[in-house]
Amino acid sequence: MNTTIRILRYGDYDAMQKAGSNIPATNSSNHATSTAPEWPLWEVFVRSKQGLDHKHVGSLHAADAAMAIENARDVYTRRQEGVSIWVVESKYIHASNPDEADSFYEPASDKVYRHPTFYDLPEAIKHM
């Protein structure tokens, strides 16, 4: 199987296309049937219950935000997994670069004094 692959990762969407434009078709210009471009990709965030954060659960394709929310309901909350849904077009997600993760997060690694357990206090102090 000889497949040419165009790498489109989350953080690359914004760099590769202007807002509002569709993802360019991949190598297969000879699609047997439809030539219409794909619906845009959306990232889905679900609040599982009142009081908790929205959490990323996955992604899906939809023509617009309303459809993305309805599809997200059908795909990600069939068993009452959510009470609230956020969707955002994937191209608007900006991400830190994993190749630079070591240096990027390094400043926090030598600051143990930021943690309460760094401090030895007298036994007499029960709660602090």
């Binding site: 199987m1 165009r6 989350y10 297969s28 439809s34 617009d64 059908d74 795909v75 670069n97």
Partner: protein, 317 residues
């Protein structure tokens, strides 16, 4: 396998060895990427094609309860396909490209779905054996090394257990039914047993990619290990149905602590994989037809979305 690894490749393998998940933007060997794209998209295609043999029985389910259950199950399969397509897309292949590969026969799906579902008992047996075999494969994949794939599998496994249980539940009803219903049940088991065993793929010595996939922790168990586990479980469960598995060589081997079982007809397997199973053409045609007939819906939705966007832009200006 003493080959010189590049620093990136070495770092990659160290992460795998330490059970650190690989995420979409991380460096990965091209072969790892391609193996995953092939495996995840095949898996997604299987979920989507897998809806067809069951869809066959939605309008003919024997009661409203069974119909509602079957509808929910088929809807789950669609969801599972979507989770997996989305996971594959994080590796850089587009959804349309995957569909294209499916519709042109370039990509495979599980050969089991090229068998027909002839009676209502087939619905139960598909749940018990086919979903059962799928679960056996999928549970270890929840720990697979690629993060998005592992997360999709966790979600799928949570839902899949309902599929197997509803199948066995409906078979239990048949097993307590009329002689005709019991015959129908045994007949369905006879037809699905061997294809279910083939779902685990070729034997280990005929599966050249297994070693690399195990080293990358894409796979956690070999095909033969999983198949043996499946045989051991089913050989016991079938007794609860008062039925038998169609294998004269099936017998408990106390020394191995496993059931011995007969030889699989691999010629049949390769025949079905290469497109000559009972329903290969029908399945792909149904899928292509659904895609083609849906084209106007996709186009209309896009047109509506851009109209709305234009309207909003005007209103905002």
């Amino acid at each position: 396998m003493e080959q010189m690894l590049s620093p990136e490749a070495q770092h990659f393998q160290e992460k795998i060895d330490k059970e650190i998940k690989i995420e979409p933007k991380d460096w990965m060997p091209e072969k790892y990427r391609h193996t995953l794209i092939r495996q995840i998209s095949q898996h997604a295609h299987s979920e989507i094609i897998g809806m067809l043999p069951e869809g066959n029985w939605i309008t003919r389910a024997p009661s409203l309860k069974r119909k509602a259950i079957l509808l929910a199950k088929v809807q789950d399969e669609a969801g599972h396909g979507l989770y997996l397509y989305a996971a594959a897309e994080t590796l850089g292949i587009s959804r349309d490209e995957m569909y294209h590969q499916l519709h042109t026969g370039k990509a495979k799906y599980s050969s089991i779905f090229n068998y027909p579902t002839l009676t209502w008992a087939d619905m139960g047996v598909v749940g018990w054996l086919v979903d059962g075999a799928a679960i056996m494969n999928q549970v270890p994949l929840c720990r697979t090394s690629y993060g998005p794939y592992a997360r999709a599998m966790v979600r799928i496994c949570k839902e899949e257990s309902f599929h197997q249980r509803q199948g066995f539940d409906s078979l239990l009803v048949l097993s307590k039914g009329t002689p005709g219903q019991r015959r129908m049940l045994q007949d369905a088991i006879n037809r699905w047993w061997w294809p279910s065993l083939m779902m685990f793929g070729p034997t280990d010595d005929a599966s050249p990619n297994t070693v690399q996939s195990m080293q990358w922790k894409i796979k956690r168990f070999t095909n033969d290990e999983l198949r043996q586990k499946f045989v051991d479980v089913c050989a016991e469960q079938v007794k609860l149905l008062g039925c038998t598995l169609p294998d004269p060589d099936l017998k408990w081997n106390a020394e191995r602590g496993h059931y011995d079982f007969g030889a699989i007809n691999w010629q049949e397997f390769w025949n079905v994989v290469s497109g000559n199973g009972p329903c290969n053409k029908e399945r792909i045609e149904a899928r292509r037809k659904a895609w083609d007939n849906g084209a106007w819906v996709r186009e209309a939705a896009s047109a509506y979305a851009s109209k709305q966007q234009a309207k909003q832009a005007v209103a905002a200006a």
